[in-house]
Symmetry: C2
Subunit: 124 residues, 2 copies
């Protein structure tokens, strides 16, 4: 994989922000339109294939984060879109289900939705 200045810029953004980022969010964090959106999408796909980053889909939008070879799960506020990282307690369950159905499980998603402490008064 070639290390172009575009790819380095995107990687730097991932290093600066510890939160999951969408293509659009990466675009906004760049000095005005430094990169083309297609380049960002293509780079994200490349990074994902190379296992440099991981992906989660939230409401039709993909979010990516640097792959530290753990996977991540989030609890998301439906009002302010805050994402709180939560632990994964799925591995044992995953093994059981995979064995029962002769499935080869590659990965999984788990996301909790609701309202955070600050948004609960507004939401009710």
């Amino acid at each position: 994989m070639r290390m172009t200045k575009q790819r380095i810029q995107i990687l730097d953004i991932f290093k600066s922000y510890a939160k999951p980022l969408s293509a659009e969010m990466i675009m906004e964090k760049l000095p005005d339109d430094a990169l083309n959106l297609s380049t960002i999408y293509r780079t994200l796909e490349t990074f994902y294939d190379e296992e440099l980053i991981s992906k989660s889909t939230i409401e039709h939008t993909n979010y990516y984060y640097l792959n530290d070879h753990k996977h991540h799960h989030y609890m998301i506020c439906l009002s302010c879109h805050k994402m709180i990282e939560i632990d994964c307690h799925l591995h044992e369950f995953e093994e059981q289900v995979a064995k029962a159905h002769q499935f080869k499980v590659t990965h999984h998603d788990m996301t909790l939705y609701g309202y955070c402490h600050e948004c609960q008064p507004k939401a009710s």
Copy 2:
């Protein structure tokens, strides 16, 4: 909520198929273009708001299924898109996390991805 013939048609389709359905899939199951796609989308949203159906998002597409007041989880084959229903073992965990972060959790997603027994030879 008014019970129009369009809404009855969509409800009938949900009753006939026990699997999650997308707007497009509902369209295809109707006698040629009986309904407008927008109507289907609007109806699905209405049914969802009224809690008649539940929703899951898989690869940027929403799937809906009749709400039996249980929620559903699936293990999905990345090759043939077969969806196998699996049990939920998340409630206790959900309570712990919600309490720890003062979150009010409304619902959650959990999906396992991989390759089913038939597709494993092709996928490797």
